[in-house]
C-alpha cells in the first residue's frame, strides 16, 4: 500500500473485509467474523435487487397513503375525513404555520424525497449513471438520518385518537391511509438499510476516476 493520501486501495483488493455487524476488519477468506460470528460477505450483490423490490413497493404504497384519508374526525355530528395534505392545509388556514411546516416536512417531503433519492441512488448503481459518487453518498447519509422522522405523524395520530373519543360530540379515528403510510416508512427504511453501499463505489470506479482527475 502506498502512503499517498489519495490512494484508493480497496479492502477487497488486499484480502480484507469488514464485519457487517461489528465493523471488525478480518481476513476475507474466513467464513465468519472472529469477534461476533456473523457470516462475512465481501459484496452483497443480491442487496441491490432486495432494495429495488422494497423501494418499488414503497413507491406504490405512497399513492394510497396520500390519496386516502388518514383521519376521520366527528365534530358535533359532522363527519370530516382528512388526507395528509388536507390536514396540513387546515393547519395553515388556522394560522399554525410552524406546526404545518413540521408536519409537511415529516409526512410529505421526507417520504417523497426518500423515494426519489433512493431511486436515483439505485439507478446510479444498476445502470452505471455518471453522477458524482460523493454527492450520492451525502444524499444517502441524509436519507438515512432524516427518514425516521416520518414516524411523527403516526405518533400524533395515536395520541389524538386516544384522547379525542367523545362519541358524536368530538371523536377522532384513524383511516386507511395510516396503514399505507406506516408501511411506506417501514419499507423505505428497510430499502436504505439492506443496500450494500460498497457496490456504488465498485461499479462506478472507472467513470469517477476520469471525472475527479481532470
Amino acid at each position: 500500500m502506498k502512503s499517498n493520501p489519495n490512494d484508493s486501495t480497496l479492502g477487497k483488493q488486499v484480502g480484507l473485509t469488514c464485519c457487517p455487524t461489528c465493523n471488525k476488519v478480518t481476513c476475507a477468506k474466513s467464513a465468519c467474523c472472529s469477534r461476533c460470528d456473523t457470516k462475512l460477505i465481501i459484496r452483497d450483490y443480491a442487496s441491490l435487487q432486495k432494495s429495488w423490490a422494497l423501494l418499488i413497493t414503497a413507491a406504490i404504497l405512497l399513492i394510497p397513503a396520500n390519496l386516502y384519508p388518514i383521519t376521520t374526525l366527528t365534530n358535533q355530528g359532522k363527519v370530516t375525513q382528512d388526507t395528509i395534505f388536507s390536514g396540513i392545509a387546515h393547519l395553515v388556514k388556522t394560522d399554525m404555520i410552524p406546526i404545518a411546516i413540521i408536519l409537511f416536512t415529516a409526512s410529505i417531503l421526507v417520504p417523497l424525497l426518500k423515494i426519489i433519492g433512493l431511486t436515483i441512488y439505485l439507478t446510479a448503481i444498476s445502470f452505471k449513471l455518471p453522477i458524482s459518487k460523493k454527492n450520492l453518498m451525502i444524499g444517502f447519509h441524509i436519507i438515512e438520518w432524516i427518514g425516521r422522522w416520518s414516524m411523527l405523524d403516526l405518533f400524533v395520530i395515536s395520541l389524538t385518537v386516544a384522547v379525542v373519543n367523545m362519541g358524536q360530540l368530538l371523536d377522532a379515528k384513524p383511516a386507511p391511509a395510516a396503514t399505507a403510510f406506516a408501511l411506506v416508512i417501514l419499507l423505505t427504511q428497510l430499502a436504505a438499510k439492506v443496500i450494500d453501499t460498497r457496490l456504488l463505489w465498485d461499479r462506478l470506479e472507472s467513470k469517477n476516476d476520469s471525472s475527479t482527475n481532470t
Binding site: L10, V14, L16, T94, L152, L154, M166
Partner: protein, 208 residues
C-alpha cells in the same frame, strides 16, 4: 496485508471498502472516510460507571413515563387523558394494528429493551467477564445494539406531544402532566446515555 489488520493499524470504511490507516485522535474528534464521508471511528472510550448511572436513571423514568398520562384534554367539562401505551391500544382497537405495532415498538418496546440491554452489558462487563455463558450473552446484546438504537424513536415522540397539543388546541383545552415530564426526562437520559456509549469500546472488552 492481513497482518496489518491484526495490529489494528488499518481499518476499512464500511460504506465504500476503502483501506484507511488509523491515526490517534484527540478526544471528541471523529474520523471520517476521505472518500464517502462515513463516520469511521473515534476515541474508543466510554465511562462505564457514568453509563451505569445514566442507565439506572433512565430505567427509573421509564416506568412513570409509560404509566402516567402524557396528554390531557378537557372538552365541555369532560376530561380525557392518555398514556403512550393507551395511544397504541386505541389505534389497535380501531383495527389499525400495523400503526399500533409501529407506535408500540418505537416508543415503548425498543427503548425498554435497549435500556435493559445496556444495563445487562454494563453489569456483565463489571462483574461477569470470566463466565463463558455471560460472555456469550454480552456478545448477543452487542450484536442487537445497532438495531435497537435504530428502532428507538423517543426524540420523535417528544416532538409529537407538542404537535398533537397544538393540533388539538383548536377544539379543546390541552395540558401536559407528570407523564410528559417523565417521558421527556427519559428521552434526555437516553440521549446522554447513547452519547456516552461507544460500541467499539464495548466490543473491546470481549477481546481481552
Amino acid at each position: 496485508m492481513a497482518s496489518d489488520a491484526l495490529d489494528n493499524s488499518v481499518t476499512l470504511c464500511r460504506s465504500c471498502d476503502l483501506v484507511i490507516r488509523k491515526r490517534a485522535l484527540p478526544s471528541g474528534v471523529r474520523a471520517l472516510c476521505p472518500r464517502c464521508h462515513t463516520q469511521l471511528y473515534d476515541t474508543p472510550y466510554c465511562s462505564i460507571n457514568g453509563m451505569l448511572a445514566l442507565c439506572i436513571t433512565a430505567i427509573i423514568f421509564f416506568f412513570p413515563a409509560n404509566t402516567y398520562p402524557v396528554l390531557e384534554l378537557e372538552f365541555l367539562g369532560s376530561m380525557r387523558t392518555t398514556t403512550v401505551l393507551e395511544g397504541a391500544i386505541a389505534v389497535y382497537q380501531q383495527g389499525y394494528w400495523v400503526v399500533a405495532v409501529a407506535v408500540m415498538t418505537a416508543a415503548v418496546i425498543a427503548p425498554g429493551i435497549l435500556l435493559v440491554s445496556i444495563l445487562v452489558q454494563i453489569v456483565i462487563i463489571k462483574y461477569g467477564l470470566q463466565h463463558s455463558l455471560l460472555r456469550s450473552i454480552l456478545k448477543q446484546a452487542l450484536k442487537l445494539q445497532g438495531l435497537l438504537t435504530q428502532l428507538t424513536m423517543l426524540e420523535i415522540y417528544v416532538i409529537s406531544f407538542l404537535v398533537a397539543a397544538f393540533n388539538l388546541a383548536d377544539f379543546a383545552t390541552v395540558s401536559f402532566s407528570f407523564g410528559t415530564f417523565c417521558f421527556t426526562m427519559l428521552f434526555i437520559m437516553h440521549l446522554f446515555l447513547l452519547r456516552e456509549y461507544d460500541i467499539e469500546h464495548m466490543w473491546s472488552f470481549l477481546e481481552k
